[in-house]
Symmetry: C2
Subunit: 323 residues, 2 copies
């Protein structure tokens, strides 16, 4: 298991490497929800998401033998960039296995952090075969995106920083996908303040955590179809067990609610937040009664959205036309 001490130790280990992301507030959000919200802005974290915390915490603990062998990870998203940058900062080689249909922006970003990117078929089977083959060949160390105590403890440092800055909170909300962030958040919260209630928020269209939580039995996510691409993964036994023990409730939100919350964050708070990062606010908007008059912490988990098309459109619309 992962303890509060693991989180505080992780924080000591990574604090020089991470960005102490700002905590933002919004009078409009407070008015709309009748509570006082503290947004922990992990969209401003290195690589644009909280994932850097866990990756750095895991990689920085490797032995010198392991470091020589390098690390390997499979991800088409934020974990890829997190492992690539953390490995680069620590000075060891990294290999990232990405599905061959990954977005060009993410491939370029991952390569930009110095990783050796290897493509695989865009299936679980294709990915596992490739990872296994590469691990056998190079003896490299696998950094799992969430099913790893060091990754979970690292993820929990975001909530720890939030508590250190704002003090006691009645409730704290984080998104749930594979469960690394919500597990770390739960451990940090219960350790800092046992009375703080922890809420996980999940897309209705990827509600494996909700099903698992309510049935008491781990249910995997099958072909989840949600815009919140960071939350399509399934819980592991480890994260499920932490969630069952410490999470108050799993709130689910529709795709429309996710986009509405995202639009609020962009338009009113001027924050570029990715769909997965907007999920907790969607949950809060959707369950106002639960949080009335409370001090609420909310982890904005990341801000990586591919805006290429938006700016192409924006440019076309703007140039050469009358205003």
């Amino acid at each position: 298991m992962v303890s509060f001490e693991d989180v505080t130790t992780a924080y000591e280990r990574i604090r020089e490497a991470v960005i102490q992301t700002p905590v933002m507030t919004s009078l409009t959000a407070n008015r709309l929800t009748n509570c006082s919200i503290f947004f922990k802005c992990e969209n401003f974290q290195r690589i644009g998401a909280f994932k850097f915390r866990g990756a750095y915490n895991a990689i920085s603990q490797l032995s010198s033998k392991e470091r020589k062998r390098g690390v390997i990870a499979h991800s088409s998203g934020n974990h890829a960039q997190a492992v690539a940058l953390a490995a680069k900062m620590i000075g060891i080689p990294s290999t990232i296995v990405m599905p061959k249909n990954s977005s060009p922006v993410k491939i370029v970003a991952t390569k930009g952090y110095g990783a050796n990117v290897v493509f695989c078929e865009p299936t679980v089977d294709g990915r596992e075969k490739m990872v296994t083959a590469l691990m056998e060949k190079h003896q490299s160390v696998l950094i799992h995106p969430y099913d790893d105590p060091r990754v979970i403890a690292g993820a929990g440092t975001a909530a720890l920083e939030l508590f250190n800055e704002v003090g006691a909170l009645d409730s704290i909300l984080a998104p749930v996908g594979g469960g690394g962030l919500i597990s770390g958040t739960t451990i940090a919260s219960k350790g800092f303040m046992p009375t703080t209630r922890v809420f996980a928020v999940e897309p209705e269209q990827a509600n494996d955590a909700y099903k698992s939580f309510t049935t008491g039995k781990l249910v995997p996510s099958i072909n989840p179809n949600t815009i919140a691409d960071g939350l399509r993964t399934s819980l592991s036994e480890r994260t499920f067990s932490i969630i069952r023990k410490g999470v108050e409730e799993i709130i689910t939100v529709s795709e429309e609610e996710i986009i509405e919350a995202m639009q609020f964050l962009w338009e009113r708070m001027k924050l570029v937040v990715e769909p997965s990062g907007a999920v907790p606010l969607a949950g809060l908007f959707n369950s106002k009664d639960t949080f009335t008059n409370q001090h609420v912490g909310l982890i904005l988990s990341g801000g990586n959205v591919d805006l290429t098309q938006f700016f192409v459109h924006f440019q076309k619309q703007s140039l050469g036309t009358e205003f």
Copy 2:
């Protein structure tokens, strides 16, 4: 004229009302420019732009007689919302004259702050007639968007806060439209640190300040065609005189450069910044040699962009499709 003391006094007057906006940094921006940039994020200011500072500073100094008569302003943009909110907070009535073709989002926002919105023909003549008629009828006090010492001093408090937070700067950059922000920035900078060099940045397609500065003669802006909608106004004699005296250079940037800088701010820094607000960074990217190895302050003046279409498109693209 406006003195440094006017800016420090303005700051004492408005500090409880304004948001002490955060200063952000970006390792990537620093690496790309070979300097150390401190972004003053006025996109996080009330109403989403620095304009609130000047409006509040002006309105809070009105006599009780003037307060009873209320204030009037003409604007289709950020100044409209700034005057509406400042008047509401101070508890006096406001009338905002907006062109009848103003964006619905801005009309709703201005009304939302409690202003009486009156529409006029979308011409200078139509606007002036309407403002004159209303002022005669109600004896209301005009709050000019920039040609007012109180508005200029208020605008200068953004730079003052930046200096208070980060200390000495080699250079500071701000956009120039009517010249209120750059004038306030110049006075704050020269007062805090006489050796700091002040740069105004302006769209090539609205380069009245550049022409005025280089010819020494006030040249008005005629039908400027730039995406940076906050910078289409012309200098006044007052702002021109401050600029001539204190500004080092006026850097002009193309429309493409503005959009490129905006895209950097959104994608890499996760900040929603409007085109006018991205103009100084475009200037910095465009004139790197001028700033090499310097500590540079940069005012991100605002973040009000109408994203309605973007989110309609985003929603259409996302819902009901396979991911």
